[in-house]
């Protein structure tokens, strides 16, 4: 017996079979994570995601390059961190775990690295869990970047990561979904305060500094889709200030293709494609920090 004395739904509610489906599982709404996968050449996406991706390609022909270069930046940054001895990675906004994920990258550098993927997209997280089922050093959690205390207190996070040791906090193409009124600076500070000295933070963040009109159209595309996420571009100075409390690793905040490029494929043919995303790696000082 239900707590409702009258169980049946009223007729006007019989219209949708899926009205109980939470936000993020509704297959009629594009997902940023799956669109990203599409632009990367993956097939973990649905027609709505591809439609949004194609629309994005129309207004921003370099969109594929953007995601490719970002992915390449992630690979270089994570490799760099692993080589500097970091063995714990917290990847927030990890999306659909397609080729070249963090745990695969670090596996090639060092043994025993632990990786926690965090995304608010329930499908991305379930998908990650499927792929990671056999990997006891890696897990995925559904949580929101904007709730640091929630993220940092999840058993999956605290069970795998030791916050007394350095952790690399990875925030790739995700902070630009945090609106100004949500105070991204204060938000990141709450993460920073929990990280041990010697930890790192990696950010890549879309900008309109070089191509305001094109990027504005790109933002409109996202806004016009029914996705709940909206792009907030930030200037070089604003992205730099996100690293308050960290020492920037050379070369500092630069176009994502220009952060320690390793070969021809890391750089786009068109120069402006190399700087449509600001990227940087910050190091939490060992002395004088905390």
């Amino acid at each position: 017996m239900s707590w409702f004395t009258k169980r049946e739904r009223p007729p006007e509610h019989a219209m949708s079979d899926l009205d109980w489906v939470p936000e993020g599982i509704d297959v009629t709404v594009p997902s940023v994570a799956r669109t990203y996968d599409y632009l990367l050449g993956g097939a973990h996406n649905l027609a709505v995601d591809r439609a949004m991706g194609d629309q994005m390609l129309k207004v921003l022909p370099g969109a594929r390059d953007l995601v490719r270069l970002n992915r390449a930046f992630l690979r270089r940054a994570v490799t760099y961190l692993a080589e500097r001895g970091v063995r714990q990675f917290l990847d927030i906004g990890s999306g659909i775990p397609t080729a070249g994920n963090v745990h695969e990258i670090v596996r090639d550098v060092a043994r025993g690295c632990r990786v926690v993927y965090v995304d608010k997209d329930p499908v991305a997280v379930v998908h990650s869990r499927l792929l990671l089922a056999d990997d006891e050093n890696t897990t995925a959690v559904q949580a929101d970047l904007r709730e640091p205390e929630d993220v940092l207190s999840r058993p999956e996070v605290t069970g795998l990561l030791d916050f007394d040791e350095p952790v690399a906090l990875l925030l790739l193409l995700v902070v630009h979904f945090v609106r100004p009124e949500e105070e991204p600076g204060g938000l990141l500070a709450r993460y920073r305060d929990r990280l041990a000295p010697g930890s790192f933070m990696v950010i890549s963040h879309a900008t309109a500094d070089d191509r305001p009109d094109t990027m504005a159209r790109a933002a409109d595309t996202v806004r016009e889709s029914r996705s709940k996420d909206n792009l907030v571009y930030r200037t070089h100075a604003e992205v730099t200030s996100l690293f308050d409390g960290y020492e920037l690793v050379p070369p500092g905040v630069v176009g994502h293709a220009l952060w320690r490029p390793g070969g021809a494929g890391d750089i786009a043919d068109k120069p402006e494609d190399n700087t449509q995303v600001w990227a940087g790696v910050g190091h939490k000082p060992v002395t004088g920090g905390r």
């Binding site: 004395t5 009205d19 050449g41 080729a99 070249g100 379930v126 021809a264």
Partner: protein, 699 residues
């Protein structure tokens, strides 16, 4: 892969160059999750395989297929990647003449490339299908988890239902209940089926409906904030359920908004409050409602009573209750009050009535009349019969009686306070008549009484301010018209009402008890004036003060008169005191004793307002202490009337007894003449002179 490749330096250099160029083209078009050098190394391996395929011929298709699959595994899945690969690999292989005989080279390269493309397509298709299937599984699982979460939520809600007494319902924007829980059913005493057929508006008390509709309108208009208000719900059993009602909007995309209704039963809280109210609204001793409670019930009754039958209010004052507590003790008094309370309650048990205790020994009964309610006279009789039945209290046999003021069927627009004032005034009028009396309210009389009360209350202040003066009215000897003495009268020069005459001043002063000090003051003033007059040669006007009943009975009267006479040096014979027959001949004793004593000491005692009633006449003649009697001008004393002739005989008896006769209120010479004929010595009244200041009388 067994066929040996040409190991010449040129061949290796060419293959490496092809691999590097291929890597560059691929990595700038698609994301390959590895460093450039590693990619180049992998692609060099593919190039060497492909070269071997071309060389062997039989391995051409296999080499091509493996390269095509490897490309897809490197994440090169786009058409663009395939096109670039076909182009660069095709051209590169064709540019390596050492791989095969010239007549075979082109055919074998085409073979290799065709296989690469075919395998690429197969692999991409398989990979895409695999990924889509994975995604489908993930979507399914995510939904499943959401569904489980939802079921878990529902299960939690179900648990809540068993452990919370909060009523929960969901209604549409018109208030119609779509769902509701059992707790709500309990709160409003209705079955699920009854609830399903009703709306929130039908469930709330009508007083709350308008406000609730406003709340719903706000939510329907897009309000996002929950609204919490105390409300009364109508229970099926007719009782009211006090709840805290919270309305919250429920919005879902593509569905009409609904309202979540939470009803927290606040009846317990209100019951507790009710208990506190009970203490605030009831008399502790008798447990009867107090005046406050009675008043609010009265207000309600005036609104709701049957207009034809109306209400009746009985205001009771127990007679001589202070004698019971004074003589038998407070405990007996309390016991009596409880008995009276119980009897009064029993009296109206069949009526829609309330019995209240107003004060020390005052009770009130409110009856909402019906056609079967007994009439007022019957009710009064029953009250008196009930109260007069003796009972035992602490070994004493006690019976009580009550004086009652009744307000019967007051106008519906009366206010409770007007009505209670009226009942109180009526009670006081009844009390003025005596014990065990009752009176019906008289609105005109009420108005007069009310004015009198307020005047009486301001009298002490007026006296202090000098608004009250002593005046003298000449009493004239009928034989020669000379002033024989002076009547002492009071006048209140009221700033708003003008001069209030002596009689009204006395009545007001008597009401408040001011009469004793005021009378003493007037007496002293008069005696001082009389002494002044005595200083003038040939004058010696006695002054005459008419005592009021309470002044006459004042135990201090003797002392006051003695003091005044000794202080002013006025001979006792120059003071005359009028006294009412009740004081002179009454059973009270004290007044008669006083006056007898004064008469013995040469103070002239006179009988006021002599009526010539036989009993009075007998006492007058036998008493011997009265110097004179005063009669007021009346129809009986009008010359020529039959009564006046009879009266003349009576007055002769008075004269024969040596008692003087004086007439008051004489207005015509004919009246004066008549009085002279029947033997009156003196007279006063408008015919002679009005009351005035002392100097007016001496002229």
């Amino acid at each position: 892969m067994t066929a040996p490749l040409p190991q010449d330096a040129d061949g290796l250099r060419a293959r490496t160059r092809l691999a590097k160029k291929w890597a560059y083209l691929l990595s700038s078009r698609t994301f390959i999750p590895m460093a450039t050098t590693e990619l180049e190394r992998k692609l060099l391996g593919l190039v060497e395989q492909l070269c071997a395929g071309v060389t062997s011929g039989s391995l051409a298709q296999r080499a091509g297929r493996e390269a095509g699959e490897a490309l897809v595994d490197l994440n090169c899945t786009t058409a663009e990647a395939l096109q670039a690969s076909v182009e660069i690999v095709g051209k590169g292989l064709m540019a390596m003449p050492a791989l095969a005989p010239p007549d075979k080279l082109r055919e074998r390269v085409v073979d290799v490339i065709a296989s690469l493309a075919a395998a690429f397509v197969d692999r991409v298709r398989a990979s895409t299908l695999a990924q889509q299937e994975q995604l489908g599984r993930s979507l399914y699982r995510a939904m499943r988890e959401a569904q489980v979460e939802l079921q878990f939520s529902e299960a939690r809600l179900e648990l809540l239902e068993h452990h919370l007494s909060t009523g929960i319902a969901i209604s549409d924007l018109d208030g119609k209940l779509v769902r509701s829980n059992a707790a709500l059913g309990r709160i409003v005493d209705r079955t699920p089926a009854e609830l399903a057929a009703t709306s929130v508006f039908e469930l709330v008390h009508e007083d709350d409906r308008t406000a609730l509709r406003a709340d719903f309108a706000e939510l329907a208009g897009g309000g996002t904030v929950s609204i919490t208000q105390p409300r009364q719900l109508l229970r099926a059993d007719g009782e009211l359920a006090w709840v805290t009602l919270t309305l919250s909007p429920l919005r879902r995309s593509e569905s009409p908004a609904q309202v979540m209704v939470l009803a927290e039963d606040a009846t317990d809280v209100n019951l507790l409050q009710g208990q506190l109210n009970h203490q605030a609204l009831h008399d502790v001793l008798t447990r009867l409602p107090n005046r406050q409670y009675f008043t609010s019930r009265l207000e309600q009754a005036l609104r709701t009573a049957d207009p034809g039958a109306g209400v009746s209010v009985f205001h009771l004052d127990l007679d001589g209750f202070s004698r019971i507590t004074g003589g038998l003790g407070r405990e007996v008094g309390d016991h009596v009050l409880k008995i009276v309370a119980g009897r009064l309650r029993a009296l109206v048990v069949e009526e829609n009535a309330m019995v209240a205790r107003f004060g020390h020994d005052e009770f009130a009964i409110l009856v909402e009349n019906t056609p079967s309610t007994p009439d007022v006279v019957t009710m009064i009789r029953r009250i008196n019969d009930l109260l007069s039945a003796p009972f035992h209290a602490d070994g004493h046999r006690v019976a009580v009686s009550a004086t009652i003021g009744v307000v019967h069927r007051p106008p519906r627009d009366s206010t409770p306070s007007d009505l209670l004032d009226s009942a109180d005034l009526t009670l006081r009028r009844a009390r003025g008549v005596g014990r065990r009396q009752w009176e019906l309210a008289d609105r005109a009389q009420d108005g007069r009484d009310r004015r009198t009360s307020s005047l009486a209350a301001t009298m002490p202040g007026a006296w202090e301010n000098g608004e009250i003066r002593v005046l003298y009215r000449p009493v004239v000897r009928l034989a020669d018209g000379r002033v024989e003495s002076a009547d002492v009268v009071l006048r209140w020069d009221h700033p708003a009402l003008g001069g209030l005459p002596h009689e009204q001043c006395l009545a007001l002063a008597e009401d408040t008890g001011l009469i004793v000090p005021l009378g003493t003051w007037a007496l002293r003033e008069a005696c001082e004036q009389a002494r002044e007059w005595r200083r003038e040669p040939g004058r010696g006007l006695p002054v005459r003060w008419a005592l009021t009943p309470s002044q006459a009975a004042d135990p201090d009267l003797l002392g006051v008169v003695r003091d005044v006479l000794s202080e002013t040096g006025l001979p006792a014979s120059s003071l005359r005191l009028g006294a009412p027959a009740q004081a002179l001949f009454g059973d009270l004793g004290e007044a008669a004793d006083n006056l007898g004593y004064l008469a013995e000491h040469e103070v002239g005692v006179e009988l006021e307002d002599f009526t010539a009633a036989p009993a009075d006449l007998v006492r007058l003649v036998e008493g011997g202490s009265v110097r004179a009697v005063r009669m007021a001008q009346s129809s009986a004393t009008e010359p020529g009337s039959t009564v006046s002739r009879a009266l003349a005989g009576v007055l002769e008896v008075v004269r024969d007894a040596g008692i003087g006769l004086t007439a008051a209120g004489v207005t015509t010479p004919g009246q004066a003449r008549w009085w002279r004929e029947v033997g009156a010595d003196t007279a006063s009244g408008p015919l002679f002179a009005p009351a005035g200041p002392p100097d007016a009388i001496t002229r």
